[in-house]
Amino acid sequence: MHTLESVNPSFAAEVQAGDVVVAGRDFGCGSSRETAPENLLELGVACVVADSFARLFLRNAVAIGLPVLPCPGASSAFSPGCDIEVDLATGEVRNNDAGTVLHGEPLPESMRRILNAGGMLAILKSDRLETLESLRQEDDGRESG
């Protein structure tokens, strides 16, 4: 597998289920392919935290069920092997080795519900036909949490 090969040639071999990828600016720039987030999901990556994301990568990640969290400053607060804890609902990102906390920008609740449902195909196939409309509640963005 060639995932992130140009950054770390042994990434695919080394990554373990539950690991978090921390990235810099405009992560995912330049592609419309779902294989970008899909490969990470298949390798067991639990989520991606980045200073910023390219729009279509973020959208595709949500669509296939790979959790993502924009968090400016993340790339300089972590190095490989750090003990990291991410709360996708609050946006809190903890570096347990250094004892520091960053505050990311959690996705709106509607998008997190798409993620929790397992992505767009899961919603399409769902017996309960949980439509997107039911995932969107009144005043989305003005809800707490």
Partner: protein, 453 residues
């Protein structure tokens, strides 16, 4: 409301929406091409869905692998045709018809005010006709084709006000490269861009397609021109050519304008007369310099085409530079017209003759070498200058090749010079000698000696 807010409001059945809101909207037009179509339809089959929600507004195009250069590509095309037959897809464009982003406007599929999605980053192109148009992945396309709806977050909008006039030999491709260089490849991340200002009406639909095509290279979700008289003329011509009917009524119904009190995150001025020919250097689209800083860089390949600049206007601009001149012996100039119609019209107008006489090689109407999955790849150490939209590492073959992006005129001038060249300087040279009479001894002698100049 801004253009994006108005279109998303109408599409989601709301009177008003504001930036940041999550809406569920009706998709007006959905397109997939030969890189992703098989996967999209496989998803539908897997979900037990046997027909698309909206036949009239579903378009499938074979453009990237045209004609297939590997057995795997041929198999992929075959699978797509099988799906097209099973699902009864009416708007199916077979290999050789043209690039998806050319066919959607050219064949009358895009209208102002539409919400358009495509499995391709450069779907932003269709903002040229005042549509809110953006790229999505294959799972989402399957969802959209099955249900006719999709979710969106309403984006904030930034505006670029075009002011003044272009100098000679400077094109709208140079303008959008300048904007990318000046403001950066994430200036419009998640946002909608409106291209406006007093000079917006000077921009042809062909060049609006170029500009909106590149909006995604600034991170944009949508890139749009508000529909105006230029848009109306374009639609009227489509009706005269028999491509559409009832353009006036549809235009009146569907056109949108931003409100005078619409809220923009930022408004930037674009002083057109200060912009000269530009080049995007390897390996980022926003790594843009005035052509003077790149002049002299030796190239091996020059490419004219792509959804960015493969239209009649672009081929004509290149032909104006190439007329009576020869491609440098060290350069391969390859040309891919954006559609069959563009090729046919270019033939009628003598443009293809000029390109052929100069030494260009013609490719079928399609994406050509742009995305590196077909022909025209580069070896380590080679350099290509092209009219397309991306110059990332490894995009056209070797990770050790270099890609430069520019306008059709700059690419044509570079093909003649053998290195990156300023089209204004080539235009200033003595006019080349008149072409000799066809079939005479004089012609044979000129051709034998021309490469020694």
């Amino acid at each position: 409301m801004t253009l994006a807010e108005k279109i998303l409001a109408r599409a989601s059945g709301r009177d008003r929406v504001a930036a940041g809101e999550f809406v569920v909207a009706t998709v007006d037009l959905a397109m997939t091409h030969d890189i992703f179509a098989a996967q999209v339809f496989d998803h539908l089959v897997d979900a037990g869905i046997t027909q698309v929600f909206d036949q009239e507004h579903t378009v499938v195009v074979m453009d990237h692998l045209v004609p297939p250069s590997t057995e795997a590509a041929a198999e992929q095309h075959k699978r797509i045709r099988e799906h097209v037959a099973k699902f009864g897809i009416e708007n199916f464009y077979e290999a050789g018809s043209g690039i998806c982003h050319q066919l959607l406007p050219e064949r009358g599929h895009v209208w102002p005010g539409m919400l358009v999605v495509g499995t391709d980053s450069h779907t932003t192109t269709h903002g040229a006709l005042g549509a809110a148009s953006t790229g999505i992945g294959t799972s989402e396309m399957a969802y959209a084709l099955a249900t006719g709806t999709l979710w969106f977050r309403v984006p904030e909008t930034i505006r670029f006000d075009l002011e003044g006039s272009l100098d000679e030999h400077v094109s709208w491709k140079d303008v959008v490269l300048w904007i990318a260089g000046r403001f950066g490849s994430d200036v419009a991340q998640y946002r909608s861009i409106e291209f406006a200002g007093p000079s917006a009406s000077q921009v042809s639909v062909s060049s609006r397609l170029t500009i909106c095509n590149m909006a995604v290279e600034m991170g944009a979700k949508f890139g749009m021109f508000a529909p105006d008289e230029v848009t109306a003329d374009y639609l009227e011509n489509l009706e005269h050519s028999g491509v559409v009917e009832g353009w006036q009524q549809r235009f009146a119904e569907k056109r949108v304008e931003a409100d005078p009190d619409a809220s923009y995150l930022a408004v930037h001025r674009v002083p057109l007369s200060e912009i000269g020919p530009q080049v995007a250097l390897p390996h980022e689209v926003d790594h843009v310099v005035p052509v003077g800083e790149a002049v002299g860089t030796v190239i091996q390949q020059a490419f004219i085409g792509s959804c960015t600049n493969g239209r009649l206007e672009d081929l004509a601009a290149a032909a104006a530079v190439l007329k009576g001149r020869q491609v440098h012996p060290g350069v391969r100039l390859i040309v891919a017209p954006a559609s069959r119609w563009v090729f046919q019209e270019a033939l009628r107008q003598g443009i293809i003759q000029i390109l052929a006489d100069a030494g260009a090689s013609m490719l079928p109407a399609g994406c050509g070498p742009c995305f590196g999955g077909h022909g025209g790849l580069l070896a380590a150490g080679e350099r290509c200058i092209g009219t397309h939209n991306r110059n990332f590492v490894g995009r056209m073959g070797s990770a050790k090749a270099e890609i430069f992006l520019a306008s059709p005129e700059t690419v044509a001038a570079s093909a003649v010079a053998g290195h990156i060249a300023d089209p204004r300087e080539l235009a200033g040279e003595n006019t080349p000698p008149a072409a000799p009479q066809r079939g005479t001894r004089e012609e044979d002698i000129v051709h034998a000696t021309s490469h020694q100049r």
